[in-house]
Amino acid sequence: MTAAAEELKALTNTVVVDARGTSCPGPILAAKKAVRGVASGAVMEVLATDSGTLKDLPAWAKKMGHEYLGHYEDAGYLRLFMKMK
């Protein structure tokens, strides 16, 4: 089960990775690039406009062992959340 938008909005101190404007495979490349700078247990927030990211980022997180928390839509873009392993 992924978290509801309210729970995600309540998260603070997330590490924001802005992949807006990029298309596949841009968002997962951006997440991969940023992963080193995020502590274990911290939450990474990926901003994306490519709708495929909704499926791709959870698949990436699963493969990499991170916990996908869910997403919500902001003004014209997606905010996706993962808890780093």
Binding site: S23, I28, L29, K32, W60, M64
Partner: protein, 159 residues
Amino acid sequence: MESTKKTIIVFSGDFDKVMAAFIIANGAAAMDDEVVMFFTFWGLNAIRKDSPVAAPDKTFVQKMFGAMMPRGPKKLAMSKMNFAGMGPKLMQREMKAQNVMSLPELIETAREQGVKFIACTMSMDVMGLTKEELLDDIEYAGVASYLGEADESNVNLFI
């Protein structure tokens, strides 16, 4: 999930097919997979340098091949709707508008991510391509090396 290996044979030198190969390679590398790309026959043109390289020892036929084949990712033709080179130009413009990475960018990113490039020496000989004409710091090998890598891989694509 533990990291696994993916092997991709790039046989085609068609712009669109090479794009697909590099998108998959970059995606797999971003998922911590080891990725090995084998470039053979027309696929070798994707990893050609874009400027001519002197190659004095070539036969006449090899020189013809060298002159007629596309030099590098910017010169590749599309498998469909090429329209004498207009097709790839239009597609590249559209991809730029959609913020899709260009083929040279995808190749560069694949290298940065540690994707292993292997050029097939047999097809290099047939087509008269020398090591100097291909990207620097790649490996050169044959079918046994590919099969050895493929044995350890859980996804193998022929593009």
